[in-house]
């Protein structure tokens, strides 16, 4: 019998029941909760007279609607305020641990889970949020669910699931200097497409992935949903285990050795069979910039805006035309000729300490270009913010003309006050360049933190490698 993949191992360890058609009841270890997708679930519980099965599996935080300016005044928008207050009330009523808006540990749910050690290898982790895939970086099986499923997990600690197929994306060899985890994952999506992972759970492997820090692995897994995958995973190694040690929710002294030993088995067996294998040469990956309205519409910074007339597939060409019109871009324009209005460094993809360090390193002793209306840095959590301040990164950003904000989702999706105006163009370290994502009519280009920083200085995209 062939060996098991990492996905098989975690899946098998969580089977509670299996029906004839292959639908299984999967046990859920960790349930992260935020304000946008939970109110109707809590309400559903209440209406049915049900209680959460295991409140200690839950950790809640408000992130999407929170202001990134001072929190002292509360939330100005009454609709946003009500949603955040509803989370507070529900967590209190049901006894769920919540990091409230003024807690110094508050932040984006996918940043604080790992930061607190609430995300552990081998766990099943869910959240009513598609970027739950982030937590797969720890060798966990982590995926986003809808609100009805949030309610199902609250009430039963399980989910009804069917197993997906498995894909190995092996990024072989070494990336060049200035090429980051973000560039790797954008290049992968550019290669396999936004539906390339549909029906699959992806394991990211290969030397270039192994060489990444936990922050980098989280960036890669974060965007596996952008390739359509159910989840993204990275095998456990010493990098994983070192990251977890000493975090608040991590195993205590007497459990630690047993836990770490169990985690070390969370790798795909040598003879494991994947349903699909994609190999990518790391050395060929260059810093990436998206040009369209889907994350697969991406190219190297040295490239040009593609021309739909050269594409045979009519539906694809049509999609490209629509995207170019929305983005107000002409075919064959060099990416480095694209000027920007705003720069956003933040989101659950790229707002961790390593991301801020990378951006600060590019910015140091330079100034944001005059043509840039706003350059924002939004740390992923209160703890990231504090660490960055201890390292003096905030000073580097503000001296260059960046605004240094409080943690939250912010301009990643513009549910709070941070947004693009219609027609504005933004270099963003977030994960989605959909129409209107960062504000109605706004135009998003996805890049790495270092590339965003360089673009802020130059006023247009530049190859960060010519900066370093």
């Amino acid at each position: 019998m062939a060996g098991k993949t990492l996905y098989d191992k975690v899946w098998d360890a969580h089977l509670v029941d299996e029906q004839e058609d292959g639908t299984v009841l999967l046990y859920i270890d960790r349930h992260l909760v935020h304000e946008v997708t939970s109110p109707q679930a809590f309400e559903g519980l209440t209406l049915a007279g049900r209680k959460p099965w295991r409140t200690d599996s839950m950790l809640a935080v408000a992130d999407h609607n929170v202001p990134t300016t001072s929190r002292d005044e509360g939330i100005e928008d009454p609709v946003s305020r009500l949603q955040v207050e509803t989370l507070d009330t529900n967590c209190e009523a049901f006894g769920v641990t919540e990091f409230s808006m003024t807690d110094h540990r508050q932040g984006i749910v996918h940043v604080i889970g790992p930061e607190q050690g609430a995300t552990l290898p081998g766990m099943t982790v869910v959240c009513g949020d598609s970027h739950t895939s982030t937590h797969g970086a720890f060798g966990a099986l982590a995926f986003g669910i809808g609100t009805s499923e949030v309610e199902h997990v609250m009430a039963t600690q399980t989910l009804l699931q069917k197993k997906s197929k498995s894909m190995l994306v092996s990024v072989d060899g070494q990336v060049g200097p200035g090429v980051t985890a973000k560039d790797i994952v954008l290049a992968i999506i550019g290669e396999i497409g936004t539906a390339g992972g549909t029906g699959y759970t992806i394991e990211f492997g290969g030397h270039a992935i192994r060489a990444l820090s936990m922050e980098g692995r989280m960036t890669v897994c974060n965007m596996s949903i952008e390739a359509g995958a159910r989840a993204g995973m990275v095998a456990v190694d010493e990098t994983t285990i070192d990251y977890i040690k000493g975090r608040p929710f991590a195993p205590t002294a007497e459990q630690w050795e047993a836990a770490a030993a169990a985690w070390r088995t969370l790798v795909s067996d040598d003879d494991a069979q994947f349903d699909k294998v994609v190999r990518i040469d790391a050395a060929g990956i260059e810093p990436q910039v998206s040009w369209g309205t889907s994350p697969e519409m991406v190219t190297s910074v040295g490239g040009v805006v593609p021309n739909p007339e050269t594409v045979d597939d009519a539906t694809r060409a049509d999609g490209m035309r629509r995207a170019l019109e929305y983005m107000d871009l002409k075919p064959d324009t060099p990416m480095t000729d694209i000027g920007l209005d705003r720069v956003f460094i933040g989101s659950c993809t790229n707002s961790r300490i390593e991301d801020l360090r990378a951006a600060a390193a590019v910015i140091q002793n330079r100034q944001v270009a005059d043509s840039i209306k706003q350059a924002l840095v939004v740390p992923g959590s209160g703890l990231v913010k504090r660490q960055a301040e201890e390292e003096g990164l905030d000073k580097i950003f503000t001296a260059a003309g960046f605004e240094w904000r409080e943690p939250g989702c912010s301009m990643c999706l513009a549910m709070n006050a941070d947004r693009l105006e219609p027609g504005e163009r933004c270099a963003s370290t977030s994960n989605r360049n959909f129409e209107g994502r960062q504000g109605a009519g706004g135009r998003t280009h996805l890049v790495s933190p270092a590339m965003a920083a360089a673009a802020a200085i130059a006023g247009h995209f530049v190859d960060v490698r010519s900066f370093v």
Partner: protein, 214 residues
């Protein structure tokens, strides 16, 4: 859950790929803590010329005459024919609630994003996967034929066109059963309470660190 058995209903074509959940229901409407009332903002940015925000008077909006669902011939459509990767993007079930609230009972596409596909069943919105060329043909016929109605039979797992052409589709048995009978997942799962408890106690011994909290 709302049951789905059979409908014979007007279809509308939106034959493009990667219709994402941000397009289906833009983020400003996700601030609602309710499950209903999303239909007026379905496809908001495409459907209206003015910018939408929560709490607006729907009569004050400027519909975009170019947008397909604003054409009189598609009023009352219950079936949407779309392109690849429908519902990609965020996990927001609000996208399904908006389609449902607007009046859609089924979406036909060559492929769906995983989370959207799961969510759809929970509100009795039937996602039907048909081959890309079939979807393209249905969309084309729909555009060329006023009053184009599709007959969708979940029991038989078929879509029948006005010309009598029958396309079969696949759906998980368990999901089909839940949908046909309007069964509540949570109630069903709670019938297995003992199994969940047994699993939990075994696991608690084997991997106690999974049960730590702060």
């Amino acid at each position: 859950m709302k049951a789905f058995t059979q409908i014979k209903a007007l279809a509308a074509p939106m034959h493009r790929s990667n219709i994402d959940t941000d397009a289906i229901i833009p983020k400003q409407f996700l601030k609602s803590i309710k499950r209903s009332g999303f239909g007026v903002n379905l496809f908001d940015a495409w459907r209206y010329l003015d910018e939408g925000f929560p709490g607006q008077d729907p009569n004050s909006r400027q519909p975009n005459p170019e947008f397909v669902l604003n054409q009189a011939r598609y009023a009352g459509a219950q079936v949407l024919i779309s392109g690849d990767n429908f519902g990609c993007g965020s996990s927001r079930e609000h996208a399904v609630w908006a389609l449902d609230d607007y009046g859609f009972r089924s979406v036909i596409a060559p492929s769906f994003a995983d989370i959207f596909h799961n969510n759809a069943f929970k509100s009795g919105l039937l996602p039907i996967v048909l081959p890309a060329d079939v979807c393209a043909k249905l969309a084309e016929d729909c555009e060329n034929t006023e009053g184009y109605r599709l007959d969708i039979n979940l029991q038989a797992k078929t879509v029948t066109t006005p010309d009598g052409e029958v396309h079969s589709f696949d759906v998980d048995e368990f999901r089909r059963d839940c949908l046909l009978n309007g069964l509540d997942d949570i109630g069903l799962t709670l019938q297995k309470r003992n199994r969940i408890e047994n699993y939990e106690s075994t696991r608690r011994t084997a991997a106690p660190w999974l049960f730590n909290s702060q």
